[in-house]
């Protein structure tokens, strides 16, 4: 069960270390990750504070942050960490854990990723128009990018049909076996 805020959760620290294969103790709060992070302005916690929350075992606060969903995976933090911590991989792992616990603080981001992967499972490749329709139905965001549709259609950049791969059974098999492994 998830811990309450402000509780030291040592199992959480161990889990993040195991899944990310990173040594969290190496972070000495130099702030380089935050200095380079392009999305800091939109975060509730800057990335160095996320690292500190993890070190302090504050699971609930880390997993319910908006920051982990807004990270753009640009890899600047990982590139600039003086102690070679793969910070972006830790952000990935925190998203994995948050999703497993059903905490998705940025609902639209979670819905978009889900719709994207559903498209991959269904067609083997991303079908952009179908993906957008699925995303709109999940979020009710009817007017998302509706202003771009005429341009995208005119330029032939929004395929009207899916490009299904031939061996769809192989993709379905991968998703099925992946789910079995995860149980």
């Amino acid at each position: 069960m998830s811990s309450s805020p402000k509780t030291f959760d040592s199992e959480f620290i161990a889990e993040v270390q195991r899944e990310s294969e990173q040594n969290l103790a190496l972070c000495y709060q130099c702030g380089n990750c935050t200095a380079g992070c392009p999305v800091s302005f939109a975060y509730d916690y800057p990335v160095n504070q996320i690292m500190r929350l993890v070190q302090a075992g504050r699971k609930q606060e880390a997993l319910s942050s908006h920051a982990i969903w807004l990270c753009a995976s640009c890899e600047t933090c990982t590139t600039r960490c003086p102690n070679d911590i793969d910070v972006a991989r830790i952000m990935d792992v925190l998203r994995h854990m948050a999703r497993r616990e059903d905490i998705v603080s940025e609902k639209a981001v979670g819905a978009f990723w889900k719709a994207f992967l559903e498209s991959v499972e269904k067609h083997g490749r991303v079908f952009e128009l179908g993906l957008m329709a699925n995303y709109v139905s999940k979020t009710g965001r009817m007017f998302t990018d509706v202003d771009l549709a005429p341009m995208a259609l005119r330029k032939g950049k929004l395929g009207l049909r899916a490009h299904d791969i031939k061996k769809l059974a192989e993709i379905r098999g991968i998703f099925d076996r992946y789910r079995e492994q995860k149980q």
Binding site: A72, E75, V109
Partner: protein
């Protein structure tokens, strides 16, 4: 010695970056580089897959690496190429993680086949710089892009993280700068060449894109550029297709063409519209290309 690669186009090449895929294939053909498309390739899962689960991401990539293994048994390949940095990072990260025997075994179980996955994996840009050499590209130039002032925009992940990507300098890459200079363009210094455009937050958080991509457009204009040149489908989409949204949000008035470098290489090589597909760009480059013809006294 002719070069031959397994080619992974990526999903955006079928839609939003059709012109990148087409101009990449045309450029490689005119350079005598053989691209053999990975048959029945599937989506690598992009950011959503690695953000949801690393095993799922590796397995989606693994199927493609497995098909490339089969191709390499049939004929000699110099590696796997993709034009898309996001696909590239997923391919290379997976190959890197497969070095762990336990993870390798898990991935093989889910993919349902054995994997060797030892072919070199490169972006098309890295191949041009490292395997072919820019001198060969320079020989192709018939109409130098003289008078065209550009800023090179690499985006984040073609070069990052450096431990995985193993290409160029992660803070100040020069591959695209050098390539564009070979084409005859005037390449301006650009401090934001590796800054993030906001990536896949375009659909979900437009405020982030307006700020980050807006800053790149502002800086390009301040630098005196006629155009931005990129190698990434998502960067191109954010800067070009979303430029009107960004202008509206920021009260700016940018009208900045955003080319793929392969389109400009094709143009310099004298290729026509069917290869360069300039008509696919949302911000029309026509006035710029027409004025360029005036500047150099040649038809562009």
């Amino acid at each position: 010695m002719s070069l031959c690669y397994a080619y992974y186009p990526g999903c955006s090449g079928l839609g939003t970056s059709l012109e990148y895929d087409t101009s990449t294939r045309a450029l490689c053909e005119s350079l005598g580089i053989e691209l053999v498309e990975i048959p029945d390739w599937n989506c690598c899962g992009s950011t959503p897959a690695h953000a949801v689960d690393h095993l799922l991401s590796a397995c989606l990539v693994g199927r493609n690496l497995g098909i490339a293994d089969d191709m390499a048994e049939e004929r000699k390949l110099d590696g796997i190429l993709t034009p898309c940095p996001s696909c590239l990072k997923n391919l290379k990260t997976t190959q890197h993680r497969l070095a762990d025997p336990e993870f390798h075994r898990k991935v093989e179980l889910v993919v349902g086949r054995t994997l060797t996955a030892d072919l070199p994996i490169k972006s098309v840009l890295q191949m041009l710089v490292e395997d072919l050499g820019l001198e060969a590209l320079a020989k192709l130039v018939q109409k130098p892009l003289a008078g065209l002032k550009v800023v090179p925009y690499y985006g984040c992940i073609m070069i990052r993280p450096p431990q995985i990507m193993q290409f160029d300098d992660p803070e100040n890459p020069m591959a695209l700068d050098n390539l564009l200079a070979e084409l005859g363009a005037e390449v301006l210094p650009f401090a934001l060449k590796t800054d993030c455009c906001g990536a896949s937050l375009g659909t979900t958080r437009k405020d982030v894109i307006a700020k980050l991509s807006g800053r790149i457009l502002d800086a390009a204009e301040e630098a005196g550029a006629d155009a931005i040149v990129t190698a990434c489908p998502l960067c191109q989409l954010n800067l070009d297709m979303r430029q009107s949204q960004i202008n509206k949000a920021n009260h700016s008035g940018h009208n900045m063409p955003v080319f793929y470098y392969t389109q400009l290489a094709g143009l310099a090589a004298g290729q026509g519209e069917t290869s360069t597909m300039m008509d696919k760009l949302c911000v029309s480059p026509r006035p710029l290309l027409a004025s360029l013809a005036g500047r150099t006294g040649e038809g562009a």
